[in-house]
């Protein structure tokens, strides 16, 4: 491992890579602050730029955007009760209350410190566990890979936002779209309708840019997008001695919890911050303070979401399974570079793995500096009117799309998927599972057909492998558990709650929050969630026993993941 780290720092300290990790974390913080462009949309927009970069440099920058956005999302959550990205929704509960009490500074300070510690703990975990897991995963055959990918897709569809069945329909559509073009094995053209441009299939970047970039922009246009004028000055960033004492344990717990939840497919981000909030509330001496500006309610979840965004790289770099949409995009970026992430990535491309690990240490240190003394600069960015931002984002999409293959046809593809993405937003279909399935589709199909060829067409081969059996058994248990819970009509579990949080579209969140503030609309959204969290701490308390059960399942799942 030490050798690896040495290689890694050698890569990460290369001036070019230092520059790109800096660009990544600055852009990440910026888009985390700006509601409307989440990490998903931004990474989708920047994918064409990564063609010109080395693989390690590209991933270093994209990873920087992802964990940078986790820091940046906090700022608006605390100051304006507008989560810049979904994982920060939880921070609005106590962070905004702290800001109202004039303690915005310590809230932001402790969030930055917690995020830094969580990030570093998670990087250490990544450096220790990933190579061990990869050694073991090298022995996985096509049957085990099929089981893993099925598990990944199932978890992403069931843990994502919105309806599970809608997510499943979208995942299936993604698998179907992945089959467009020439069949890998027989060479037969499928769903090309005679068009030569379609023979190579849809370009992943075009789909991602269309669904996330254009779709999001079009949908944002409808939300109006007039931000409040921000004139709040943030002072006294450094937490007091008492703040530090109160936050120490939440940060420790948040780091560990976040790491293990992040390793789960579908686990990065929202789920980890919700779980940490629930855990902190349960272990607090006086839970009634939560929702009224308890610093633990900021420190824990902020630590956990950054820890999870780092550990989410474990399944990607070790198994080749992206655990959420952002990582699916990073997966795509690696594929573009001709590298298929999987168990052989660490031995074959040590510079990429260790370079990314080392860059995360550097990036987190940069973020600590960016978010402590310079937080005011990012706050000022909120003054940029949404219309200008959206216009420039659109222009970048259009020229970036052309640069994918220097083919104007791709612009039409992107606009087509953009319209689809916009309509999906309007009808509550999450594009995440579609993109994830599209990425996994070709690998999954190849593994399924390989397995069937090995067995001579006998489908029982899919349950002939001990690893596969374990995975399917865990899946069946999970499904049974959810079904039983549903029948007993217990309190909604933490997974359910995570599902109610709208996808990371800042403006959508604002639009909904505004609507919720204006009316007594019963739709579950961020605004209402924050309201109920803040104003009726009693109701949330009543859910305590239910939460207890959920915590256990998460630990079980985390243990499962470790065993694997």
């Amino acid at each position: 491992m030490l050798d690896g780290l040495l290689v890694g720092f050698g890569v990460a300290l290369d001036p070019i890579n230092l520059l790109y990790v800096f660009v990544g974390v600055v852009v990440g913080t910026a888009i985390g602050v700006l509601p409307g462009l989440g990490p998903t949309a931004t990474i989708a927009l920047l994918l064409p730029l990564t063609y010109a970069l080395d693989p390690a440099t590209a991933i270093i920058m994209l990873a920087g955007i992802y964990y940078g956005s986790m820091y940046g999302g906090t700022i608006t959550s605390v100051l304006l009760r507008m989560p810049g990205e979904a994982a920060s929704v939880v921070t609005t509960f106590d962070g905004y209350q702290m800001a109202k009490q004039g303690r915005a500074g310590p809230a932001l300070g402790i969030a930055a410190i917690g995020s830094f510690i969580g990030g570093i703990v998670s990087v250490i975990g990544l450096a220790i566990f990933a190579p061990m897991l990869a050694d073991w995963a090298l022995a996985f055959g096509p049957v085990a890979m099929v089981a893993l990918m099925v598990l990944g897709l199932m978890l992403v569809t069931s843990l994502g936002t919105g309806s599970t069945w809608k997510a499943m329909a979208m995942a299936a559509l993604g698998l179907l779209l992945a089959t467009v073009g020439q069949d890998q094995i027989s060479g037969m053209p499928r769903f090309t309708f005679g068009s030569a441009s379609m023979l190579d299939g849809f370009d992943f970047v075009a789909i991602a840019m269309g669904l996330f970039g254009v779709g999001e922009i079009l949908h944002n246009l409808e939300q109006g997008g007039h931000l409040h004028a921000v004139a709040k000055k943030v002072t006294k960033i450094m937490p007091t001695r008492q703040d530090a004492k109160d936050s120490a344990m939440p940060i420790v717990r948040g780091s560990i919890l976040g790491f293990f939840i992040g390793v789960l497919p579908g686990g990065g981000g929202v789920l980890s911050s919700l779980a940490s909030y629930a855990l902190e509330k349960r272990s607090a001496k006086d839970p009634s303070r939560f929702g009224k500006g308890a610093i633990e309610g900021v420190a824990g979840p902020e630590t956990a979401n950054n820890a999870s965004s780092t550990s989410a790289f474990v399944p990607l770099l070790v198994l080749g399974i992206p655990s959420n949409v952002v990582l699916a995009l990073i997966f795509g970026a690696l594929l573009i570079q001709g590298i298929t992430p999987g168990p052989s990535l660490i031995p074959q491309h040590p510079d990429i793995f260790w370079g990314v690990v080392a860059s995360m240490v550097i990036g987190n240190a940069m973020l600590l500096i960016l978010n402590m003394p310079m937080v005011g600069v990012f706050v000022q960015m909120l003054r940029v009117p949404m219309g200008i931002l959206v216009t420039f984002a659109m222009a970048i999409v259009l020229i970036g799309t052309f640069s994918i293959a220097n083919d104007p046809f791709d612009i039409w593809v992107v606009l087509g998927f953009g319209i689809l993405g916009w309509l999906m937003k309007r009808t509550g279909f999450d594009p995440g599972p579609l993109v994830l399935a599209f990425v996994l589709g070709p690998i999954l199909e190849a593994s399924v057909r390989q397995s069937l060829l090995i067995s001579g067409g006998d489908p029982t081969i899919f349950v002939s492998d001990p690893i596969a059996i374990t995975i399917y058994a865990a899946l069946a248990l999970g499904v049974a558990f959810v079904a039983v819970r549903r029948l007993r009509k217990g309190r909604p579990s933490i997974f359910e709650q995570a599902r109610r949080i709208p996808p990371p579209t800042g403006l959508l969140t604002i639009g909904r929050a505004k609507r919720a503030e204006g009316t007594t609309d019963a739709s579950a959204d961020a605004g209402e969630d924050a309201d109920t969290g803040a104003m009726h701490p009693g109701t949330a308390e009543a859910g305590e026993p239910g939460r207890h059960g959920d915590e256990a399942t998460e630990e079980e799942r985390a243990r499962d993941a470790r065993r694997r």
Binding site: L176, M188, I388, S403, L415
Partner: protein
Amino acid sequence: MTDVADRTEHTGTMTEPNASETTTPDGVRGRRIARWIAVAVLGAVSVVAILFSIDYGLGTGIRPGPGLWPCIAAIIMLGATVVVAITDTLEDYEAWGTESVRTLIALASLLAFAALFTLLGFTVPALLLMLLWLRMFGRLSWLKAALLAAAGAIALFMLFDVVLGVPMPRDLLMTPLTSWM
């Protein structure tokens, strides 16, 4: 937070028209139409895909054919769509209103860009597009919008053409300029 989720869970089990009317008095009709269209489109796509897959050949037991995998995916999609049609509440669907007109104008301008791009190159269509968007969505004055649009279009062209070395199509504005340089 918990009670909100409870309420929404509840609406799922009630008879659907009442449920939607109590929770969302506005635009129920539009939402219902949106849902049926979504379900119909998804259903149609999956049925067509199944038919095509069978045509491509599902293969025999020993040799899985090229149509087997798309057929499995399409069947899962059809199944999930049927469940969505039966169980989905109207909560996720947004009603169509006057604000959609702006989006449709934006869309039309994007399609116009795509059509003009091959003829005029990047900068001129991009300038026009950005001018329209900055004026309409950014609410800038015409002068400010025009200056910003021109600066943005030229800067982006320079970034991609000169810095990143992307071979841009012949540009009405920039090709004469850069070739002269």
